[in-house]
């Protein structure tokens, strides 16, 4: 995974609460078995009109937001389905950080798996950023994971966490900064995993009693 230190980029405001992953990537696209090509499908039914042309009323299509790298949204962003495709779509579209008062749990975890940085700010600060980003299309923000701060050139500055739990915040921040992935770390625990397996009662392993 690509390490994340600091990103400066255009902020796109999605002024909605409880945005669900069915809206981020509609279910009909989940038949695809590829890992790439998801960026084009991001927010598909909001982004495109029935005739396939871009919906001029959707913020991602508005002038000034074309190269957005940071998304700011209302609370509980990413709720609903566990589909990791939602994070793939955001990441492949170019979004590196999501600023919100809270994220839904599974989506939150999926962000860590894909090097997308969750930026938790208090509700008022999020509202402030949404207002700024709406008023001034193209306004830029810096997300600095080393200092755990987000700021802009006009004096906005705020510390942030990537998780509410301080331990998890520190651990996940470390992984994101260094591009560490869980699988390699877990496989280092091979001895402990084997020892655990030795202790498991045999009846925990399902055997077909009717076959």
């Amino acid at each position: 995974m690509e390490p994340f230190k600091k990103v400066t980029g255009v902020v796109v405001p999605l002024d909605r609460v409880n945005v669900d992953t069915d809206s981020i990537v509609p279910a009909r696209f989940l038949k695809r078995i590829e890992r790439d090509g998801w960026g084009e499908l991001l927010f598909f039914d909001w982004r495109f009109l029935p005739d396939g042309s871009p919906n001029p009323d959707f913020v991602l299509n508005a002038p000034g937001y074309e190269d957005a790298k940071i998304l700011v949204a209302g609370r509980n962003f990413g709720s609903g389905s566990s589909r990791e495709h939602a994070v793939w779509a955001l990441r492949q579209y170019g979004i590196r950080a999501i600023i919100a008062p809270s994220l839904a749990d599974i989506f939150h975890k999926n962000c860590f798996e894909n090097g997308v940085v969750p930026v938790f700010l208090p509700e008022e600060r999020v509202r402030e950023l949404i207002r700024k980003a709406k008023e001034g299309p193209g306004c830029e923000l810096t997300v600095d994971l080393e200092r755990c701060e987000v700021w802009d050139e006009e004096g906005f500055r705020s510390p942030f966490v990537v998780h509410d739990d301080p331990e998890t915040h520190e651990f996940r921040r470390h992984c994101l900064l260094n591009g560490l992935d869980d699988i390699a770390m877990t496989l280092e625990a091979e001895e402990e995993i084997s020892a655990f397996e030795e202790r498991r009662p045999a009846w925990l392993t399902p055997v077909d009693g009717e076959a």
């Binding site: 009909r28 038949k31 566990s82 995993i193």
Partner: protein, 476 residues
């Protein structure tokens, strides 16, 4: 505190007991590594995970603790014919090839044990109380009904579990949802969970494991308990669980993959020690009175947007914050509903009885009760999709299929079907559906489709009447 062999032992919750028994490694400042007893796999969230294993040359650590089925993408008609949608067919084929390559037991479309992943685990007896189960699907919590830590995971974690049989997880906070008293007649497990979500909100339990307790929960059948646990994610919790008891053991006894003979006895002894100890502490407790719960209908675009069937569509102006008012206005526009419209005047075009929430045998029996000897309204197209092929066969043995077909319902093969718009069963833009499923998000059942979540009985009654009705007034 209670005394055990002379030592004081801190009382533990069900969740803590399962957690402690599954820690493989736990270090200061890091999430724990938990052992996974069972990993369920379906076609939609697994292809990229298997691909990941192949790319780096890893195998599946425990194929014997991994099972796969096909549910989201499968057509519910014409099982004999090849799947017409080429992309769907490729995904189904990918799972078949992956299961073969990695030696995983697969219940494919031709198997009479195929079905929705959360339905087949319990009904085949794979589910064991006190275990850790994962699946790349948000409704994995269904199996929490058996006193299981059943956790949904993303595709990267699917790959992680395939490779290591372990889950990286920080300890979660606990939330007790206690439902005291008894449900009134006509009020179901589905109404109970809709009522809970309506009150605590769609993010009310984020970061928590829910344990459902109380008299009304204990009185539920396993089917009802699964319905409640299933929708934990709709309240923001990844895991929802209910302590196992005799109802649980009776359900599991004699299922094909359940422990047998002496193993069964040993297992039940372990399972009886699982319930939360008296005096154990939860981080939060929320209490409901079952007698106050009613049949519910959702009116908006998330499951928390819900009112009793006796109510009406709310006015955006009655919500406290601007963000909420905006969300409600947007939802009403999408749903094409006017504030103040009585729920019972809303007329669905389609009725869907199905999904991992409400398509088990008991759900189909109770819906059949409602429609027996009646006809589906001429303005409604209605379908019943059993949660698994086993449920379908059982229902046919009991003649439920005939009851539905005679009433004018379509009777289908098992799968996720119209719960989500990724197979041929979808709503057309603008169509309104009374659905026994779990999500009413924009476009969930097909682009532009409008979903009202209800119990299977309420869905069945709406199909007959042509509009929502209070099931408590229904004369069977």
């Amino acid at each position: 505190m209670r005394l055990v062999e002379g030592a004081t032992v801190k009382p533990k919750t069900l969740f803590e007991k399962i957690w402690d028994a599954h820690v493989v490694r736990e270090e200061e400042g890091k999430p724990a590594l938990l052992y996974v007893d069972l990993h369920l796999v379906h076609e939609v969230t697994s292809a990229q995970a298997f691909e990941g294993l192949r790319l780096i040359g890893r195998g599946v650590r425990r194929p014997d603790l991994t099972i796969a089925t096909m549910d989201h993408n499968v057509p519910t008609t014409d099982r004999g014919l090849p799947i017409r949608d080429e992309i769907s067919r490729k995904q189904i084929e990918a799972l078949r090839a992956n299961a073969e390559e990695f030696g995983i037991r697969l219940y494919g479309m031709e198997s009479n044990r195929q079905g929705i992943v959360h339905v087949i685990g319990p009904e085949l007896g794979y589910t064991r109380p006190g275990t850790v189960i994962v699946c790349g699907d948000s409704h994995t919590s269904t199996q929490g009904a058996f006193g299981v830590f059943a956790m949904p995971i993303g595709t990267t974690q699917v790959e992680h579990v395939l490779a290591s049989q372990c889950l990286v997880q920080a300890r979660l906070k606990t939330m007790e949802i206690r439902v005291d008293g008894q449900l009134s007649p006509g009020v179901t497990a589905k109404d109970m969970i809709l009522g809970i979500i309506g009150r605590i909100g769609v993010d009310g339990a984020v970061g928590h494991v829910i344990e459902y307790t109380g008299e009304a929960i204990r009185a539920l059948s396993m089917e009802g308990r699964m319905t409640v646990c299933n929708m934990s994610i709709e309240a923001g919790a990844r895991v929802g669980m209910i302590a196992p008891d005799d109802t649980t053991f009776e359900y599991l006894r004699c299922r094909p993959f359940a422990p047998k003979d002496a193993d069964w006895d040993a297992a039940v002894e372990v399972w009886r020690a699982l319930p939360t100890d008296p005096g154990a502490a939860f981080d939060r407790t929320v209490v409901f009175d079952a007698a106050e719960l009613e049949p519910y209908v959702t009116w908006g675009t998330n499951p928390g947007m819900v009112v009793p069937v006796t109510g009406s569509v709310p006015d955006p102006a009655s919500f406290p914050s601007t963000a909420e008012r905006a969300a409600v206005e947007r939802a009403l526009e999408y749903m094409a509903l006017e504030p103040g419209t009585p729920i019972q005047e809303i007329r669905p075009d389609r009725v869907f009885i199905g999904s991992c929430t409400n398509a088990r045998i008991e759900d189909l029996r109770s819906a059949a009760e409602i429609v027996r000897g009646r006809k589906v309204n001429e303005n409604v197209r209605a379908m019943v999709v059993p949660g698994s092929t086993q449920v379908k066969l059982q229902a046919e043995q009991e003649g439920l299929d005939k009851t539905f077909v005679e009433a004018g319902f379509e009777w289908r093969e098992a799968g996720c079907s119209m719960c989500l718009g990724m197979n041929p069963d979808i709503l057309q833009p603008g169509e309104r559906c009374a659905s026994s499923s779990n999500r009413n998000f924009e476009g969930r059942q097909g682009k532009g489709g409008r979903t009202h979540l209800v119990s299977p009985q309420m869905a069945a009654a709406a199909a007959i009447a042509g509009h929502f009705v209070d099931i408590r007034d229904w004369q069977v």
